[in-house]
Symmetry: C2
Subunit: 353 residues, 2 copies
DNA sequence: TTGAAAGCGCTAACAG
DNA sequence: CTGTTAGCGCTTTCAA
């Protein structure tokens, strides 16, 4: 009567109600071990005897036990989830990165939570709260966090953060990116070096593209002192993000209307560059003869275009997998060697320039 | 000495250690109310007096309290997370759907967990375990779940499931999709109706594309009895998923090598159709004069191609938002009117055919 | 309305 | 190596 601690036939204490999902206790009871041993058998097989391991596994398979990771996360303070925030998923520029991130995380037992912030960071705040509330083991931000409020909340939460796709002197925590300014400069120098003297740009209106383009224009002005010092001397068409093939087509028309002599266009995305290529074809403008076209991103299709597109290659896959391993290292308490990485970029010269 | 239940100055019981994230108890103490009242003030403001509401909100803002949703989920058995499984994110065909899904969920306070199954469903099993373990309020599958093992686990878990992007007579639970067979049939009839008599296809090798194409070929054979009854009479080039612009280019070359007289190609993606367009241009084949091209997906760029691409429009946005609302309705205990929806498809006729 | 008690299902930290 | 004891931070349930 005292202790109903019989293992085989408990009086009738909280019998596992039929249909309910089994818990560690159910498994423990059926395997004749303590719940803690079940936990150990599952999370750290080496720490239990072969007999227990085997009995536990047998029961787990038989009853179809799937550990509740919410409970585990609450107890261990490790959720094994990582949140990623992208401006928008349908820009496709970030896909490689998201793919590498998911893969890298999945391989180590982590799951990805995806959030879209939009380009106008209005939703950013609610999103941040939804993320922090789930106590992820890490957050990957596409672009750097601009709002001071957001930076503070993230910092206060103590969650490891990787900012990506940009560089800054004052990262919240870790950083994997490249310099948009340097891209602007490099492309301007490249086009100038190829003899182009009527250089133009079609750029998205998001903050990174704007900075990139400012440097692009400034570099052109430096290289061609005759143009003066006003950036407006470098014809630029600004289109709303996310960019599209269509915005490339209209962008080129607009530029030509402003200045028919343009001989080079730097586009802030490959998709847009493709639109420029297409529009040039439709207008009978020869590429690269009359017009050089440079894109950004080096998406999968770019090398197969006609002519193959010269573009700035950004290694989204590298960014994603480095971000994944930085977060995992940090989450598992390993020291992180280099928390700030510049993955750089390469101008891939192809037929369009 | 008995009960240290003084509100203002507790003896020294678990003082909120500096730097630790605040919990309901901290907020409750500072606001001079019970933890439960904090919970109510946050989740159901109407159920609490204005004074308490205000005091709680003040403290929440002041200390930057963000509720731990893992703990909340454990206690309430509602995680407010939905898992989505896509074959791969970089096919871009599913992006619209994922975007609509994220948006629809975020608007109601739900978060998306994204998993990539790969096209070879080898990882599918581990992924399923990772998902079920997190006790999401719903799972959205891209394509129907083929493995019997997987279906059983999902069913046993009791989690609401929405299968998408396909139709089946025996859904696990809910379903939002369209018929790949009907698409195959419709496109074959469309091309035949436009007078094409040497109809070919370039298709991915995934299961849905295969079924679609089988019906496509069979319909062509029915419409042109002279071809016999062997599907091989309809030239088909099978390429590995995910498809790309490059596979469209090589696919067309391969088809022409087999039969130079081909006058129509049905491609299993818009990206691939674009490759065909490009290759035709390079080879001097006139589209649509000599060759009609039809894609699948109606991606954003398709209307801007040259010529604009005729394609099968699939409303990924609709699929995503319907899936979101089905899951949310189910999660919140509302009756689900029509758990199986055929969103259909439309052949959008443009310049390429 | 508000509060107190009792867990949700798991694992950290100790003992044995 | 194995078990016991306490929670993790929240919400359900019931009583006041």
């Amino acid at each position: 009567m005292e202790t109903p601690a019989k293992k085989d036939a408990p009086a009738h204490p909280r019998k596992s109600r039929k249909g309910a999902t089994p818990t560690v206790r159910d498994v423990a009871r059926l395997a004749g071990v303590a719940p803690m041993s079940v936990s150990r058998a599952l999370n750290n097989p080496d720490s239990v005897s072969p007999e227990i391991l085997q009995r536990v596994r047998e029961v787990v398979d038989r009853v179809g036990y799937v550990p509740n990771l919410l409970a585990g996360g609450l107890a261990s303070k490790k959720s094994r989830m990582v949140a990623a925030v992208v401006p928008t998923i349908s820009g496709s520029v970030f896909l490689e990165m998201v793919q590498a991130l998911t893969d890298g995380l999945a391989a180590r037992g982590y799951q990805l939570m995806l959030g879209q912030a939009g380009y106008e960071n209005s939703r950013e705040d609610a999103l941040l709260e939804a993320i922090i509330g789930r106590r992820p083991d890490g957050v990957v931000l596409t672009g750097i966090m601009r709002s001071e409020q957001g930076r503070r909340r993230l910092l206060a939460s103590g969650i490891p953060v990787v900012e990506t796709w940009d560089l800054t002197d004052s990262p919240i925590d870790m950083l994997v990116g490249f310099s948009h300014e340097q891209i602007g400069k490099a492309v301007a120098e490249y086009l100038h070096g190829r003899g182009r003297r009527k250089i133009a740009a079609i750029s998205a209106d998001d903050e990174r593209a704007v900075r990139r383009n400012r440097q692009f224009a400034d570099t052109v002005l430096t290289l061609q002192p005759g143009l003066g010092t006003d950036r407006k001397a470098v014809p630029t068409c600004v289109v709303p993000a996310p960019t599209s093939l269509g915005s490339g087509r209209t962008g080129l028309r607009e530029l030509l209307a402003r200045d028919p002599g343009i001989d080079a266009v730097f586009c802030s995305s490959d998709m847009m560059a493709q639109g420029v290529l297409l529009e040039a074809l439709a207008l009978g403008i020869e590429v690269p003869g009359q017009l050089a076209v440079v894109g950004l991103g080096d998406l999968a299709f770019s090398r197969d275009l006609h002519p193959p597109l010269t573009t700035v290659r950004i290694d989204g896959t590298a960014i994603g997998s480095i971000a994944a391993s930085l977060i995992i290292d940090r989450a598992e308490g390993r020291p992180v060697e280099a928390p700030v990485r510049d993955v750089g970029f390469v101008i891939v010269e192809r037929g369009s320039s």
